[in-house]
């Protein structure tokens, strides 16, 4: 059974049909790619899956459970995490704090425990710090743990978004253009990072990116979105040779 199962998801903003009858399956353990020209609706689809937007029609099931009516923070607790195309880091907080927030979100600590510095609160603080530092080490960010997130170069900020998403222990990770703003060397390294994440964290991924080399290399299965519709789907080689996909991309250029 698919971990994420979308059926005929549609959403309209005024006169713009952002998504039309999008059906998509992500099976456990896969890295699924989602590509398409700018404005095709990729980020909108992510917003629907995380509950930031509610689709007008269609069904979304996660792990066999209907997502309709489940609030954004509840979906995070079910194991859905994401990164943002337009980075949404907690800018005026340190790198370490950025990664501690999702861990905090799952802990049972109350403001009363914090204010009185109860032993349980101090223990949880210690545990959260250790786990956050381990994640920073995994993504090679430990050296900058005490820097403000806003002060980092883009490459590190993208990795920090990954670290923060992993901190909530997700089963499904939605990656929105993780390679945007990275140079060729960093992009190549990113594919390796994604493989390592899949191995060590047992995470299923849905990857949106414009970097074809990355998508072709990393993904098991690819969906192509254009004007809010799925125009092609299949393994990387098949999608690459699909005339309709070629036209969607070249048509955009012309």
């Amino acid at each position: 059974m698919a971990l994420l199962d979308l059926e005929d998801v549609s959403i309209r903003f005024g006169g713009v049909q952002a998504l039309l009858d999008v059906s998509l399956q992500v099976r456990e353990g896969e890295i699924v790619g989602l590509i398409g020209p700018n404005g095709a609706g990729k980020t909108t689809l992510f917003n629907c899956i995380t509950g930031v937007l509610g689709p007008d029609s269609g069904r979304m099931a996660y792990d066999g459970r209907e997502l309709h009516g489940v609030k954004t923070h509840r979906r995070a607790r079910l194991g859905i995490a994401r990164t943002f195309q337009n980075l949404q880091l907690f800018g005026r907080m340190t790198v370490l704090e950025n990664v501690m927030v999702p861990i905090d979100a799952f802990s049972q600590r109350t403001p009363v425990g914090d204010a009185l510095r109860l032993p349980t609160a101090r223990f949880e603080e210690h545990k959260a710090t250790e786990r956050a530092r381990a994640l920073l080490y995994f993504l090679d960010l430990l050296d900058v743990a005490d820097f403000q997130a806003a002060d980092l170069p883009v490459g590190m900020q993208r990795r920090l978004e990954l670290a923060r998403a992993l901190a909530s222990n997700p089963r499904l990770l939605l990656l929105d253009e993780p390679a945007a703003g990275l140079d060729a060397r960093e992009t190549a390294a990113l594919a390796d990072v994604l493989f390592r994440i899949r191995e060590q964290f047992d995470v299923t991924m849905l990857l949106v990116d414009h970097d074809m080399a990355l998508v072709m290399r990393a993904c098991d299965h690819i969906y192509v979105l254009d004007f809010g519709r799925v125009i092609s789907a299949g393994p990387p080689e098949q999608v690459r040779d699909d005339p309709e996909v070629v036209q969607a991309y070249l048509g955009e250029v012309a």
Partner: protein
């Protein structure tokens, strides 16, 4: 070197508290009562340190929350002969619940619209809840309220110095609790909500619950200030909890900065002692709001984070590693510099 910074911080706190205890011992009873007022105002500034400093929400009705504390303590102690401590507890809880209630319509608002909503709340209190007659039916007329000074574990607080120490102790304790909140999970989570609501909710934070919590804590601190003010003056009048007071304290909190706990003390001193100083000059105390306004403009230009926060940053920077630099990765910049210099 971080350890050194911590030593500096706690030494500063120790010196500050010691000065707060010792200096009033040499002052007149009148100045001691003003110092108690300053500590009470400090609690209101502290309530803004939580609400504005952590979660980034604006409120122009903090004195309305204080009024709830004051009127609850006043009417229960004077009108119904309750024990002061129990009345204070009830007042703080009552203020916190009203804070949460006000926060519900405020959930989807921020910035200017939230400011306008809180002004509406303050006006509602001014014109209706605090208007003469509203509380009379409950307490038998505010004019007859005489809330006497409480005692603290058998020690009478009738003397001005004893009472000042009691209020100052409450302020220090509240600052300590807020410091703990700020450095723990609560502070981190609230700052995350301030920085990016969409990211905060996608990592699993319930925005509604946390915003209500922040409003509740903030209103509880303001309510505590009100409850203490009720026994400081010995009577309760609506005039001291109006919209203008809330606006003034919000302006002062901005001048000193909502990003530091020390701002509570500085803000309280500013509100109470600057008018007193003006009183001894040829100027009228009517000039105080104007002076506050001028200070606000200077602060916004020269220390956007607030005077106390700015000073704290400058001092602490000396005890940290010299200017932080992001290591590695910027090979491109290095190359460009090399090319230019060759």
């Amino acid at each position: 070197m971080i350890g050194e910074a911590r030593t500096v911080r706690w030494t500063a706190v120790g010196v500050g508290v010691a000065l707060g205890v010792v200096i009033p011992a040499f002052l007149s009873d009148f100045l001691r009562s003003l110092a108690a007022d300053a500590a009470i105002a400090g609690l209101i500034v502290l309530s803004l340190v939580v609400l504005t400093g952590l979660v980034g929400q604006i409120s122009f009705c903090q004195y309305s929350f204080a009024a709830i504390g004051a009127f609850t303590v006043g009417s229960l102690v004077a009108g119904h002969h309750w024990d002061f401590w129990l009345a204070l507890l009830v007042g703080v809880c009552f203020a916190a619940s009203v804070g949460v209630l006000v926060a519900i319509p405020a959930l989807r608002l921020s910035g200017l619209f939230l400011a306008i909503l809180t002004i509406g709340v303050a006006l509602f209190f001014d014109r209706f809840l605090l208007a003469p007659g509203t509380w009379d039916s409950f307490s038998g007329g505010t004019s007859s309220w005489r809330a006497g000074r409480p005692s603290f574990f058998g020690i009478g607080l009738k003397g001005e110095y004893a009472f000042y120490l009691f209020v100052f102790g409450a302020l220090v304790l509240a600052c300590l609790l807020v410091w703990n909140l700020r450095t723990g999970k609560t502070g981190r989570v609230l700052r995350a909500v301030r920085e990016s609501e969409v990211a905060a909710s996608t990592v699993g934070l319930n925005l509604t619950a946390w915003k209500l919590t922040a409003f509740g804590i903030s209103a509880a601190l303001a309510g505590l200030a009100g409850g203490l003010a009720a026994v400081r003056v010995g009577s309760v009048s609506a005039g001291s909890y109006g919209l203008l007071q809330s606006l003034l304290i919000a302006a002062i909190a901005t001048v000193v900065g909502v990003g530091a706990i020390a701002s509570a003390a500085a803000g309280g001193i500013f509100l109470v002692f600057i008018p007193e100083i003006i009183h001894h000059t040829p100027l009228s105390t009517q000039w105080f709001p104007l002076i506050t306004g001028a200070a606000l403009i200077f602060q916004l230009v020269y220390a956007p984070e607030g005077a106390v926060v700015d000073a704290e940053t400058r001092i602490m920077r000396r005890f940290r590693r010299s200017t932080p630099e992001v290591p590695g990765e910027d090979s491109e910049v290095t190359e460009r510099v090399l090319v230019r210099s060759s």
